[in-house]
């Protein structure tokens, strides 16, 4: 709650043209927005591009944030929009590209580049996109059900249902991997 009010204050100062507030927002929110993209794409290159694009878009539409409203859903709604847009463009590009018989080494090396990240991406990789983003927002970004519903333009009931289904899938997967109480899927 305190973090949210802090972010709201920074956002209000950013709207007033305060560069310190803008920089503070970039420093504080970039890691979690970046993770949001990495979890979806598992590629740091794409995530870097999207993060940069997201901040430019946020800057462009910063007047649409209204004081007193939760900040995180506003940021995540814009980030999500850019992710969907990027995904659509990628699909269009992929449809035009000719597929090579074997993937080049560099493509295979990309996930390895994210070796510093925990196994979170691997853990969530098998979830459908809509469930993955809900889990990411709820459990990693620490947003409430109401905030996730706002960010994803859906209802609280729908968010609950997606989280429930995601947990069922995770449970199946983790049980299949032989993970029991006390064991962790992420690196310390």
């Amino acid at each position: 709650m305190c973090l949210n009010s802090d972010l709201e204050m920074l956002m209000a100062r950013y709207q007033q043209g305060d560069l310190t507030a803008a920089t503070a927002l970039i420093q504080r929110l970039s890691p979690q927005l970046h993770r949001f993209f990495v979890v979806q794409f598992a590629s740091r290159v794409d995530a870097d591009d999207l993060l940069q694009e997201t901040w430019l878009r946020i800057h462009e539409v910063r007047h649409t944030y209204r004081a007193g409203e939760p900040v995180l859903p506003w940021f995540y709604a814009i980030a999500r929009h850019l992710r969907v847009d990027h995904y659509r463009k990628a699909l269009r590009t992929a449809a035009r590209e000719e597929r090579l018989e074997e993937l080049p080494e560099v493509a295979a090396a990309l996930p390895a580049g994210s070796g510093r990240t925990p196994d979170l991406e691997a853990l969530l990789a098998h979830l459908p996109e809509s469930q993955r983003e809900v889990i990411e927002m709820l459990k990693i970004a620490g947003m409430s059900l109401e905030e996730v519903a706002r960010a994803t333009s859906s209802s609280v009931g729908s968010v609950k249902q997606k989280a429930h289904r995601a947990y069922e899938r995770l449970r199946e997967r983790l049980s299949g991997m032989g993970l029991n109480t006390g064991r962790t899927g992420g690196r310390p």
């Binding site: 940069q52 459990k139 947990y167 029991n180 899927g185």
Partner: protein, 241 residues
């Protein structure tokens, strides 16, 4: 494995920091700093919603007054008491949904497609209950006139609504087009109920209600077409003014 164990697993996995390249953050900060100036936030949602409701009512009343208020004169008190409040509620829902679609992270009370479906069904039900004349005299010729008139009144309502909401940002442009199209259609349907004196049930149920899906589809298609257009001026717009 229990839910709290999965929670713990996710919490531990999330604890490991995912560092973002500091050079990237510097670039972003510099890029934003070069075009940073104070901005005026959007007005409160209730002002925008009120504005949209007024636009719809003004378009409907002006259109009906110009063409003649024959419909409302011929309607019984019961019919007036049922039809116009129903349209009023739908216009309020449509206006509120339109504002939500144009402000990122807003609470969404009604999904655009549900509003269109439920709105069309509600008006169909109201007309089916109130009008019991099942003749189909000049069904197509009079129907096309009403559909065209409804859509022609939806156009100014949509344009002025878009003007009011132009500072907003649609995270889902197609949904925004759909909902603004539905709202504009409601202005057209209201005009038809004020003006049209043809109370044959098939005419009202088909041709008056059809304004809603047609206008919503046009709104969604226009938004989709805009979405396919490359955003060439996007970065330029963030330049200092």
């Amino acid at each position: 494995m229990r839910d709290n164990e999965i929670d713990e697993l996710l919490r531990q996995a999330a604890q490991a920091r995912l560092d973002v390249d500091p050079a990237l953050l510097d670039r972003v900060a510099k890029s934003i700093g070069s075009s940073l100036h104070p901005v005026r936030p959007l007005p409160p949602a209730w002002i925008l919603t009120g504005g949209l409701i007024l636009i719809c009512l003004a378009v409907a009343l002006a259109g009906a007054a110009r063409s003649g208020l024959y419909g409302i004169q011929k309607l019984s008190v019961l019919e007036r008491v049922v039809i116009f409040p129903a349209l009023g509620i739908l216009i309020w829902l449509g206006a509120s949904a339109s504002v939500s679609e144009l402000i990122p992270g807003s609470r969404r009370r009604t999904a655009p497609a549900s509003l269109l479906g439920a709105g069309s069904f509600a008006m169909l039900a109201v007309f089916a209950v109130l009008f019991r004349d099942y003749r189909t005299d000049h069904f197509v010729s009079q129907g096309v006139v009403c559909l065209t008139a409804g859509l022609l009144h939806a156009i100014p309502a949509a344009l002025v609504s878009w003007l009011l909401l132009r500072r907003g940002f649609a995270v889902n442009p197609v949904a925004a087009g759909l909902v603004v199209g539905t709202l504009a259609a409601l202005a057209g349907v209201t005009m038809l109920e004020l003006h049209c004196a043809n109370f044959e049930a098939p005419h009202v149920m088909l041709w008056h209600t059809a304004v809603m899906p047609v206008s919503a589809a046009v709104g969604a298609l226009l938004a989709w077409a805009a979405l396919l257009r490359p955003r060439s001026g996007a970065h330029r717009r963030s330049a200092p003014e």
